[in-house]
């Protein structure tokens, strides 16, 4: 067993967030407000990975992510893996993908959009059918994050996932 697996196995109750791009690790720490968390938190970066060259990993005791937090993670970096541990056992393991709709997760970049001028929830639709593939059909290499766009329900503005700001 590798050291990393030992660390995971040592968690009695909590969450493991794995396959984090190394440049996103601290964004996620901030997003989940782990810097203010009082329970044990293990943060590892530049770890060896079989599917990416290097990765980040977060283990946090006695914290279970709610849907809103999971959606935010998906927006910041799609395709990370979430493992939920209860009584030393893995009870759930999943790749976090983008949901169809993001409710009150991200801000609209359009300053004259009603959502930026009224106390209300934002709604964005994730558009996967894509624009980019139709315009450049030979670019198969693009991954989900590169070509996913979000469309504001209210003003209709489309934004690249990479340019999005969380609410």
């Amino acid at each position: 067993m590798s050291k990393e697996q030992l660390m995971v196995a040592a968690l009695e109750n909590g969450s493991v967030i794995d396959h984090i791009p190394t440049d996103k690790l601290f964004t996620i720490v901030k997003l989940l407000e782990l810097d203010k968390f009082s329970e044990p938190v293990f943060i590892g970066n530049n770890l060896d990975s079989q599917i990416m060259s290097r990765k980040g990993l977060i283990k946090v005791a006695n914290k279970f992510l709610n849907e809103k937090e999971i959606s935010k993670l998906a927006v910041v970096c799609p395709n990370i893996r979430l493992t939920v541990i209860k009584n030393f056992e893995v009870v759930e393991k999943r790749e976090i993908g983008l949901p169809e709709t993001l409710s009150d997760i991200v801000k609209c970049p359009n300053p004259v959009c009603i959502t930026n001028n009224e106390p209300m929830k934002t709604v964005f639709y994730v558009e996967r059918h894509n624009y980019i593939h139709q315009m450049f059909p030979y670019e198969h290499e693009l991954n989900e994050q590169d070509n996913a766009k979000l469309k504001c329900r209210y003003c209709g503005k489309e934004v690249d996932l990479k340019e999005i700001k969380l609410k």
Binding site: I114, E118, Q134, Y154, C155, G156
Partner: protein, 315 residues
């Protein structure tokens, strides 16, 4: 109850559009009725637009409804910080339908989500404006006898002109061929050209505007070329007179060709065109009344049959 608001008609089916056109046509025959007697129509113009407001209020009045509302945001509490939601909630206690115009994009959709009273979008930011689109469609339908397979020429400011964008989108199901005639700086944005390709709509882009380039048009849709739209004023000076329609440019055009313009015009249509049988922009504005009568009735659940069998017609 289902929400009967009309925020956008871009996704209306051909059947739904046809019903609205037929309703407008009935109202053109008999515009004065008491079909809406006892109803209250609110017109909330958070952003002023005298033409649109007068047209909606006339439509409501001619159908026998009473009209309440405001036009200047400064006189209402929205300038004191009241939210749009609270204003809509308050007016919902008084009105059977709310016609609203707002400078923020998506305002009408949001308003329709916070009340059960139907909302009619009379313009929100650069978003779609269904009543202008309906009156354009009605004008085209009435003058050409069909919406199908027409050559529609759009001239002038195709970049910022939201009426041409709405018209383009709502015509997509009718196999039009568009010609986009504009200066380089005001050409049709990529997203709408992509929209055409995506929906198999043919289009041609042209820079030259003269009697030969418009000879095949069924509809010539003129827009204003405004100085403030140009980043390069030299460019403005160079092109400002290139997109003006004069009567002597109509010698080769098709017999059925009609000239539309959302009005008000500045100088893009010379006054000598007004006497031409092709000029249709004043009738087009008049058609706005019938189109708006249709939209108001639609939101109140009044059907084409109700309108045909209407016993309240004032002859």
């Amino acid at each position: 109850m289902e929400n009967r608001s009309i925020v956008s008609i871009a996704d209306y089916s051909k059947t739904q559009i046809k019903t609205l056109l037929d309703m407008a046509s009935e109202f053109e025959k008999y515009p004065n009725r008491e079909l809406l007697k006892g109803k209250v129509v609110a017109t909330l113009f958070f952003e002023p637009s005298t033409r649109t407001r007068l047209s909606f209020e006339t439509a409501a009045n001619r159908l026998g409804a009473r009209v309440i509302g405001f036009t200047d945001p400064k006189v209402t509490s929205s300038s004191k910080g009241e939210t749009l939601k609270d204003t809509i909630k308050m007016v919902s206690n008084y009105a059977d339908v709310i016609v609203m115009r707002h400078k923020l994009e998506g305002a009408a959709l949001y308003a329709s989500e916070v009340t059960d009273v139907p909302i009619i979008n009379a313009g929100d930011g650069s978003n779609l404006h269904p009543s202008q689109t309906m009156l354009d469609l009605y004008s085209i339908y009435k003058t050409q006898g069909t919406l199908n397979n027409l050559n529609i020429y759009m001239v002038g400011d195709l970049k910022y002109g939201r009426t041409v964008h709405s018209l383009l989108m709502s015509m997509r199901k009718y196999h039009p061929t568009f010609h986009f005639i504009s200066p380089k700086e005001l050409e049709m944005p990529e997203e709408y050209k992509f929209y055409c390709k995506h929906n198999d709509v043919k289009y041609v882009e042209q820079r030259d505007f003269n009697e030969d380039t418009i000879a095949d048009a069924d509809i010539l849709y003129m827009t204003r070329v405004q100085r403030e739209r140009f980043t390069d004023l030299m460019e403005y000076e160079r092109v400002k007179d290139a997109y003006i329609l004069r009567a002597d440019m109509l010698t080769k055009c098709k017999d059925n060709m009609k000239i539309l313009h959302p009005l008000p015009r500045v100088n893009e249509i010379e006054y000598d065109v007004d006497d031409s049988k092709h000029a249709y922009y004043f009738e087009q504005a008049q058609n706005g009344l019938y189109a708006r009568e249709a939209l108001i009735c639609q939101t109140l659940g009044i059907t084409l049959n109700d309108i045909k069998n209407d016993k309240t017609i004032i002859k």
